[in-house]
């Protein structure tokens, strides 16, 4: 049931062209960044994965409400499961975002845009970082749908605030008084992944792995909560 749902959503979404603005923005930005060579490997990957976090949130915002509500009801009744319906949506977005992550990882490596050839470990870490930040972007944006936030402008403003806090969380965490500093762990940890990649030589492989694991766990919890909330809320 999930695969037919994904196929249907993919065909409908591809004909809506809603994916074009975020897709073009991402590809143009990557092309622009790598127009000058050489570039430092992990810092460049930190930038492209953070950009992908924002782009995947943008894609999710446009995709979640792409299907009119009357048709959503019809599709859910055919599928006989709201959970399957939302899982299919999340899987499709994850697949699309991961393809962009693969492009952002391989394009500079294959076309020699770096100051040296990246190692397999660096490539693996970069690929995982892009994938995890795709999931995090989807998890954050999924809550800003028409069903959750009445009014598109409010939803967009809310999502923009969350995205900014997720990316600029390190500065916020440093500015917080010690007593409330642990509250920074509540922020979506995109900034932690970015920071670990930029300071890869200092934090080492385990440091990167830990930041990725925290971000992945955060993203999965967000998505699970979203599916649960939507299934309970229905229409």
């Amino acid at each position: 049931m999930i695969l037919p749902l994904i196929r249907y959503m993919l065909v409908s979404y591809s004909r809506s062209y809603r994916y074009l603005p975020p897709l073009l923005a991402f590809v143009v930005a990557i092309g622009f960044v790598y127009s000058n060579v050489p570039n430092p490997i992990m810092e460049s990957y930190a930038f492209s994965s953070t950009l992908l976090f924002i782009v995947s949130a943008w894609l999710t915002f446009g995709f979640m409400d792409a299907e009119p509500i009357a048709q959503q009801r019809v599709t859910v009744l055919h599928a006989r499961s709201l959970t399957a319906y939302y899982v299919a949506k999340l899987l499709l977005l994850s697949g699309f975002g991961s393809a962009l992550g693969l492009f952002a990882t391989l394009y500079p490596a294959l076309l020699r845009k770096f100051d040296r050839s990246p190692s397999l470990l660096e490539l693996g870490a970069a690929l995982l970082a892009h994938g995890v930040l795709v999931l995090l972007g989807i998890g954050c944006a999924a809550f800003f749908t028409e069903k959750s936030v009445p009014g598109r402008p409010f939803a967009l403003a809310g999502l923009a605030i969350v995205v900014i806090l997720s990316v600029a969380g390190k500065g916020l965490a440093n500015a917080l008084p010690d007593a409330v500093a642990p509250a920074a762990w509540l922020l979506p940890p995109a900034f932690r992944v970015m920071d670990a990649l930029i300071r890869s030589e200092t934090v080492g492989g385990w440091g990167i792995a830990l930041s990725l694991a925290v971000a992945a766990l955060y993203a999965i919890l967000l998505m699970a909560l979203f599916v649960r909330l939507m299934s309970r809320k229905q229409f």
Binding site: M1, P4, L5, R7, Y8, V11, S12, R15, S16, P68, A70, Q71, R73, V74, T75, V76, L77, H78, A79, R80, P150, R232, K233, Q234, F235
Partner: protein, 294 residues
């Protein structure tokens, strides 16, 4: 012996943004019965349909379904307007059939049979649904609801936008489904044109069932005669005022607090008397017959 209900709502209440759209509705649908649900716009018809189909999380109350044997309970639902998607009818129905778990082998055959039954014009594959006329879209809407041979078929304004020929075709298909034992609930802001298919008539106003009648009216090819009463309602009277008055076929709020009522000819004098007694000013009365569209 009375059959066990297929779907039972008990004290079903639904609130949207603090407004009660359904108010403690208790309703049991028997297997195989055809129910016509009427009510003015905003009376709660569509919400009640969605509550019966399990598409709405009730604010309070419960919905119980009797599972039909081993297989899962299947609901077919046609919303009042199917969105204009960028898919052809065959693509759309193919996707919906696959999502519903229909095997690839039987899918095509089923879709072709349904398309043939609805007598859609040739060349539908050259157009996507966003280029379809209202009538064609409504036919696809009905077809998708019937795809999986549902136990319960919920139709929201199924005849809206259809010309007379298309309405007759839809009524013929509904009569066939009824004869096959499908439970059908048909919501309409006016009584269906040929309403002999109904076993039960419900009327809803302000979220409450205000009338529940069993037994069909005799089939008749006679076109109903009605009068269109246009009036100015007294201050404080809402658009649902007199919507459930005996004989009222349809209502429509107009600009400047005016209302239009289509009422059966034999009940028009009673409505006029009641309107005048309530302080309404009668602006015009016109006679007509058949459909009340327009």
């Amino acid at each position: 012996m009375t059959a066990e209900p297929l779907v039972t709502l008990t004290d079903a209440t639904k609130t949207y943004s603090g407004r009660k759209v359904l108010r403690e509705v208790s309703l049991a649908l028997l297997p195989g019965e055809t129910v016509v649900l009427t009510g003015a716009n905003g009376s709660g018809k569509s919400t009640l349909l969605r509550a019966l189909g399990g598409l709405t999380a009730l604010t309070s109350g419960s919905r119980r379904v009797r599972q039909p044997g081993e297989r899962r309970f299947a609901v077919g639902y046609a919303p009042d307007h199917l969105p204009k998607l960028k898919l052809t009818a065959r693509e759309y129905l193919g996707h919906m059939a696959a999502i519903g778990g229909m095997e690839a082998a039987g899918r095509q055959e089923r879709i072709e049979r349904l398309l043939a039954r609805m007598r859609l014009p040739g060349g539908i594959d050259r157009l996507r649904m966003h280029d379809y006329s209202k009538g064609m879209l409504q036919k696809i809407n009905l077809l998708q609801a019937m795809l999986h041979g549902p136990d319960l078929l919920l139709l929201d304004e199924p005849l809206g936008g259809l010309d007379r020929e298309a309405k007759q075709e839809c009524e013929r298909v509904l009569a066939e489904l009824k004869s096959q034992g499908t439970t059908i609930v048909l919501a309409s802001h006016e009584p269906v044109w040929r309403d002999d298919i109904a076993d039960r008539r419900l009327a809803i106003a302000e979220g409450r069932i205000v009338r529940d009648e069993r037994g069909g009216r005799p089939a008749s090819d006679e076109r109903p005669r009605w009068r269109l009463v246009q009036c100015e309602l007294p201050e404080g009277a809402g658009p649902t005022a007199f919507a459930e008055w005996d004989g009222v076929l349809r209502t429509r709020p107009e600009e400047g607090g005016r209302m239009s009522y289509w009422v059966r000819s034999d009940r028009s004098d009673a409505l006029l008397t009641a309107l005048l007694a309530a302080g309404a000013a009668i602006l015009s009365v016109q006679a007509g017959e058949g459909e009340t569209d327009g």
